[in-house]
């Protein structure tokens, strides 16, 4: 099995999968799954199946996960997955688990849950990726499908579960280094090409030109609102960190003072000839404050970064469209 071969080469394999091949039916299935089941604000998730070929990861099929509506979701999921993969093996579909996909709204997917899931996937299978599908952006005219993977640095941190500021400082990780994006290439097999010919012949003229639509304020407003919420969260986290460092320095001072007093007293007692007081365990007296976990801050920073990127892309598109409209008016 190919995973064993790759597993043996170890971390060197990591750099090899630079690019990604996704077959067309996967794209269509993901779109359909969101369209049918994701009309609420819940994200829809599913599993990607495929192979590793040469130095590329090929995704050849996928199947959706049921939503977490009942309470016995855990048990259902594992069994569901196992059964699905077993059945697909009977019909010669690649049953190798190479990743998972998730839908997102306005690009808000950098969360603890995603990190944990991706970590557990990547821990088990090194090549695994998460495909993020953005239906809002897609309905605006262009398919928005991105593939992400955790960087090796982040993997190590997650492994050790050391989220204190010192730990993160040691690893020297910034929010840009959390996820790395892998470029996607979509491929049609020959038969699908024939199918496309047939569809183009038989179906109506395409009347979807959403890409050139000028009305954009709605989308922009929503994105900015989400951005503002995140920035608020971020500022709260910063306040927390500041109070923590202030408490820490205050405590250091108190410790210092206490030690000094102790020494003085001991010196006095010695001059008077009495026994010196025992050295008490100062750590018990002055419990150091808990350092706040920095992982959330990192995630929020990553999310803010993502929002900003999206907003910038969106505005660049709109500027282009506005200039086109200006040209359309002629130079009158």
């Amino acid at each position: 099995m190919s995973t064993n071969q790759h597993g043996a080469s170890g971390p060197a394999q990591y750099q090899k999968s630079n690019c990604f091949l996704v077959l067309s039916q996967v794209v269509l299935k993901i779109i359909k799954h969101y369209q049918e089941e994701g009309q609420g604000s819940e994200v829809v998730q599913g599993v990607l199946l495929g192979l590793v070929v040469d130095d590329r990861l090929e995704i050849t099929n996928c199947f959706p996960f049921p939503q977490h509506t009942e309470d016995d979701a855990d048990f259902d999921e594992v069994q569901y997955q196992m059964e699905m993969m077993r059945s697909l093996r009977h019909v010669n579909i690649d049953h190798l688990h190479v990743g998972w996909y998730q839908s997102t709204l306005y690009g808000s997917f950098v969360s603890r849950a995603l990190l944990d899931s991706q970590f557990s996937y990547q821990h088990a299978i090194e090549e695994s990726v998460v495909l993020i599908y953005d239906p809002i952006k897609t309905s605006q005219g262009s398919l928005s499908l991105k593939a992400y993977r955790l960087t090796p640095k982040l993997m190590e941190i997650c492994k050790e579960k050391d989220f204190t500021p010192e730990g993160l400082k040691k690893a020297n990780i910034g929010f840009e280094h959390m996820f790395e994006e892998v470029p996607i290439v979509i491929k049609n097999s020959h038969l699908i090409n024939v199918l496309m010919w047939e569809l183009e012949d038989k179906s109506t003229v395409s009347d979807k030109h959403e890409l050139l639509n000028l009305s954009s304020s709605n989308h922009l407003e929503k994105s900015l609102q989400l951005l503002m919420d995140r920035v608020d969260d971020m500022s709260q986290e910063i306040v927390k960190y500041n109070t923590y460092s202030r408490n820490l320095s205050k405590q250091q001072q108190q410790k210092h003072q206490y030690l000094q007093r102790r020494q003085q007293e001991n010196a006095q007692r010695q001059t008077r000839g009495e026994a010196s007081l025992p050295e008490e365990d100062i750590t018990k007296m002055f419990k150091p404050p808990q350092p706040p976990p920095r992982m959330d801050t990192l995630l929020i920073a990553g999310q803010i970064n993502n929002y900003c990127q999206n907003v910038k892309e969106f505005t660049s598109q709109n500027l282009g469209k506005l200039f086109m409209a200006e040209a359309l008016q002629g130079h009158n």
């Binding site: 039916q25 491929k187 496309m196 109506t204 050139l212 929002y307």
Partner: protein, 346 residues
């Protein structure tokens, strides 16, 4: 990327303009909310389709108001079958992965049943063995898969089954009988993946009893009309796949946003070139003018709203200012969080 509207130069359109009262009116509208460019392109595409000979049939299909004509020339009986492209893609894929020696693949199709139509939205293949005199289908597997699928989308029911290949064999009758136990009046879908007639024919059938009651009774498969339906996002996905089809090595990366707008503009430019070529031909007398095309053209040109230059400047500038401000703010935010990171690491 900037294209100049040269329609104003043509004598034909000038004559139309001078007589049209619409040209003289100046209507104010909310620039933010109008979709005129989009609608304009839609009209443009219609005009384009009328002009070039190879698209004449497509244009006939694009006429609004009437429902789509049935695409096959066969008789229409029973419900209309609406297929989503995801189903066909899955069927092609399972055909490509069939076992050695198997000549065709069968499977179940799932969907929803309406009063007059059946919408097919999902499918899965079922392993089966076919030989000269017998056929064996793994029914247990089919039931299992259906249960699994039901957990994800509880609204989908079994509406029939599919088979790749052109003909309907005797084995099909048996399989159809099995499926009639699962669903009421199942549909049989054939997808000709072996391309026997040069094209991939996709047909749907429903079974009907025939023969003399009481004596020899047989089953006849009557064809149904097939339509393709898309969700909006699905349409966009399929458009991307169509473009991939035209690419050289059948692959395509997903490009950045601005270049996508550029690509869309290039496509509109191509369409305009076709329309212009047609108009040149009409003017030089090579092709007889078609009045309906002329009407479309006039609609198209009138879609460009006439606003005074000043108002337009104002609107444009305010929009550009909004966008620039948002860009500036997002850059600022990014710089802030980067700074925050660096300060922590000190």
């Amino acid at each position: 990327m900037v294209f100049v509207f040269t329609f104003y130069d043509l004598t034909l359109t000038e004559r139309i303009f001078s007589s049209s009262a619409l040209f003289k009116s100046k209507s104010f509208f909310d620039w933010r909310a109008h979709k005129n460019v989009q609608v304009g392109v839609k009209w443009l595409l219609w005009v384009c389709s009328r002009c070039s000979a190879s698209f004449r049939q497509m244009a006939a299909l694009a006429r609004r108001g009437a429902s789509l004509q049935p695409l096959s020339n066969m008789s229409v009986y029973g419900p209309v079958v609406k297929i989503h492209p995801v189903v066909l893609a899955s069927i092609s894929d399972s055909y490509e992965r069939r076992n050695e020696g198997a000549s065709r693949v069968i499977g179940t199709i799932l969907g929803t049943i309406d009063k007059h139509s059946i919408e097919v939205t999902n499918c899965f293949s079922v392993p089966h063995n076919e030989s000269e005199d017998e056929v064996a289908v793994d029914m247990e597997f089919a039931k299992n898969m259906y249960e699994l699928h039901k957990r994800v989308s509880p609204t989908e029911v079994i509406v029939g089954w599919y088979a790749t290949g052109f003909d309907i064999t005797e084995h099909s009758v048996l399989i159809h009988e099995y499926y009639s136990r699962e669903a009421t009046n199942p549909i049989h879908l054939t997808v000709d993946t072996a391309l026997q007639s040069g094209k991939m024919n996709i047909r749907a059938y429903v079974s009907a009893q025939m023969g003399v009651p009481g004596k020899t009774v047989g089953v006849m498969f009557t064809p149904l009309s097939v339509k393709y339906v898309y969700y909006d996002t699905e349409r966009i996905g399929v458009d991307l796949l169509q473009r991939i089809r035209l690419a050289t090595n059948r692959t395509k990366g997903l490009t950045s946003d601005l270049s996508q707008v550029g690509g869309a503009a290039a496509r509109v430019q191509d369409m305009l070139a076709t329309v212009l070529a047609y108009i040149e031909d009409v003017l030089s007398g090579k092709v007889t003018a078609d009045n309906s095309v002329g009407r479309f053209l006039m609609d198209l040109v009138n879609k460009v709203p006439t606003i005074s230059a000043e108002d337009f400047e104002n609107m444009l500038n305010s929009n550009i200012n909004d966008l620039l401000m948002v860009t500036y703010l997002s850059n600022l935010t990014q710089a802030q969080i980067a700074l925050n990171e660096k300060l922590l690491l000190l």
